[in-house]
């Protein structure tokens, strides 16, 4: 029973990060119909900026804020400089460009910082507090849950209640009509990229202290897990991304703990098939009319 509690909490705290990262993927998918394969590399780049700032100033929190800012900026930059000029007629072209970006960003990071691991510091203790003999949450886990909770509810509030959120949704779902109605569709798209990349940067800042450390490839595996989470939840649904991310986190933890670390990829495939064969658009897909 202790082990079950332990594995559940461990899975939830990683799942929360996958959820945030999946949310970033969903944001871009809803805005631009692109699966952003460069999300991981972009987030790592923001984390490296944070590392530079934090080592120069000695302040974790300054680095943290700068990382989010760098994430927002990088997202806007990628949209304006690169993605805007890609022919979206074939859905694959943006995917290939994103893969090109991954190679480019990782190579540049490797040149600037070297392909060595850098420490990723956690702002709070990662030692678990013990309740009745069972190790439960650590202060850092609480911080992760709080940060992601704030972001998720903030985004939900923005899309549902603010004019800018409304305009973003309109621009994504009916660009032509929105343009006629005077919505700056291009600007909304850039804002979508910036927001997604900012959330991605946050997720990277949260997950890196629990991983091997800072490295140009540090987010590769997180990307795969988060993408799986987003697909399980349904790429059009932000709540789906959150649930999907948590489910994947739990699954990985249980399978590593009870069956063996090498079986986790197989478990992920089984999960995907089980969900998608029943609901081909993910758990939270709107019950739309059948395509055919």
């Amino acid at each position: 029973m202790d082990r079950f509690v332990f594995l559940t909490i461990d899975g939830l705290s990683r799942g929360a990060v996958y959820a945030a990262f999946a949310l970033a993927l969903v944001l871009i998918w809803r805005a631009a119909r692109v699966v952003n394969f460069a999300q991981g590399a972009m987030a790592v780049a923001a984390a490296y900026v944070a590392y530079t700032v934090a080592t120069a100033t000695g302040s974790y929190w300054l680095g943290f804020l700068v990382a989010i800012g760098a994430g927002l900026l990088l997202g806007a930059l990628v949209d304006r400089v690169v993605m805007r000029h890609v022919d979206h007629a074939s859905p694959l072209n943006p995917v290939i460009v994103a893969l090109g970006l991954v190679l480019l960003i990782q190579a540049v990071l490797g040149m600037v910082y070297g392909n060595e691991f850098r420490p990723a510091e956690a702002p709070f203790s990662r030692s678990a507090l013990t309740v009745a003999g069972v190790a439960v949450l650590s202060p850092y886990d609480l911080f992760v849950f709080a940060a992601i909770g704030v972001v998720v509810s903030g985004l939900a509030w923005m899309f549902a209640r603010t004019p800018v959120g409304l305009r973003m949704r309109a621009a994504a779902f009916a660009p032509e009509v929105s343009r006629l109605l005077g919505v700056n569709v291009g600007g909304m798209l850039t804002l979508g990229w910036a927001l997604a990349s900012g959330v991605g940067a946050l997720a990277a800042m949260l997950v890196l202290p629990t991983e091997l450390g800072l490295h140009p490839h540090a987010m590769d595996l997180v990307f795969v897990s988060a993408f799986t989470g987003a697909v399980v939840g349904g790429l059009d649904s932000p709540p789906g991304a959150v649930v999907g991310g948590l489910v994947v986190g739990l699954l990985l933890s249980y399978v590593s703990g009870y069956a063996g670390s090498d079986l986790t990829p197989l478990a992920v495939l089984v999960l995907l098939l089980a969900v998608l064969l029943v609901r081909p658009g993910g758990l939270f897909a709107p019950v739309a009319a059948r395509r055919v």
Binding site: W29, V35, F37, V82, H85, V86, D87, A89, S90, P91, L92, N93, V95, I96, V97, L99, G100, L101, V102, L103, L104, I105, Q106, A107, V108, G110, M111, V112, G114, N115, V224, F227, T228, A230, V231, V232, L235, G260, D262, L263, P265, L266, V268, L269, L272, L273, L276, L277, P280, G281, G282, R291, V292
Partner: protein
């Protein structure tokens, strides 16, 4: 035409040195996979991030067969075709399973499942290390060139002949398939599923068929790669390979077999070229340490981005555009 290409290939195999022969043989092996992916993604509109895994299936089948033959002391030139056929059969089986699941899925959901397949298959080699020998992989015993070709026949030339012959056969079959009724139904399903269904096409069956055909060629490609390398290990068939295959067919020009040729050539030539470009620079040790390895990757990434923005139809799209313009000017 295939005959002409075959003759040309033999000619080239004598004209160039062994390393180029090996590179061309590798191009041929990749071409099997990219041509299959072109049929699936370009003609039938299904995305696959898992073709590296299908190649691994073929590669491991060939390794297991060749080892089984060697253990029983069996030798002879006829064993390799049997192993290659077995590789195709096993990959077809895997492809059919994935294809049935894939036929229900679209866009990013299909990408998600095939991506998981790409991650799972190499991982299985580690899980069942009793059979597949884990990360270290298996060696693939392959016969030397037949003695009839002379005692000093370069091994790399023989490799090019083997893979070249198999690949030309695949291209011939695929070209015929594309021009046949099946090719038309593939395209009809890609362009508009509803219309295709109204025209009496069984959409799901067509999609599974496309997946199976594509898997068969990918399996053969992987098998040839294993024969070339005389070894197979999970690291060679990682997710990266699957992503690179997709990049290759899109950059080459999606939807045309010629694009698949360009893609396969790029997969082999681009890393080599970027490395050579980097070697031309003379750098201090401190700078060289930073750039080594990273600069070729950066050039590779930048090339992908620039080509996709400048020529969305890929290299073959660019070439046929040029061809059209020339012809228009002439008339």
């Amino acid at each position: 035409m295939v005959l002409a290409a075959g003759v040309l290939l033999v000619g080239v195999s004598y004209a160039v040195e062994p390393f180029r022969n090996f590179q061309l043989a590798t191009v041929a092996a990749y071409l099997c996979a990219t041509a299959g992916l072109t049929v699936l993604t370009g003609l039938n509109g299904q995305l696959s991030l898992g073709h590296g895994a299908l190649m691994a299936t073929g590669a491991y089948t060939v390794a297991l067969c060749q080892n089984a033959f060697a253990d029983r002391g069996m030798t002879g030139g006829w064993l390799l075709p049997i192993s290659l056929t077995a590789a195709i059969v096993s990959t077809v089986a895997v492809g059919a399973v994935v294809g049935v699941a894939a036929a229900r899925l679209r866009g990013p959901y299909l990408a998600g499942v095939t991506l998981a397949v790409a991650v799972v298959v190499p991982a299985l080699a580690v899980t069942f290390d009793g059979v597949f020998n884990g990360e270290q992989g298996l060696s693939v015993p392959v016969e030397p060139p037949p003695l009839a070709l002379g005692p000093y026949f370069p091994y790399e030339r023989w490799q090019l002949w083997l893979t070249g012959a198999a690949t030309l056969l695949v291209l011939l079959l695929l070209a015929n398939l594309i021009r046949s009724r099946y090719g038309r139904t593939f395209r009809a399903v890609r362009d508009d599923e509803v219309a295709a269904r109204l025209a009496g096409i069984h959409v799901a069956r067509t999609q599974v068929l496309a997946f199976v055909v594509s898997a068969a060629t990918a399996g053969l490609g992987g098998a040839l790669l294993a024969v070339l390398a005389q070894s197979v290990s999970p690291g060679a068939f990682s997710l990266t390979l699957s992503l690179f295959l997709l990049m290759a067919v899109v950059i080459g020009g999606l939807g045309r077999l010629a694009g698949a040729v360009w893609g396969a050539v790029l997969l082999v030539a681009l890393p080599d070229l970027t490395h050579s470009v980097t070697e031309l620079l003379t750098l201090s040790p401190a700078v060289a340490q930073r750039l080594e390895g990273n600069l070729p990757l950066a050039i590779f990434g930048l090339t992908l981005i620039v080509v996709m923005i400048a020529a969305p139809g890929g290299i073959q799209g660019l070439l046929s555009g040029l061809g059209r313009r020339l012809r228009a000017r002439r008339s």
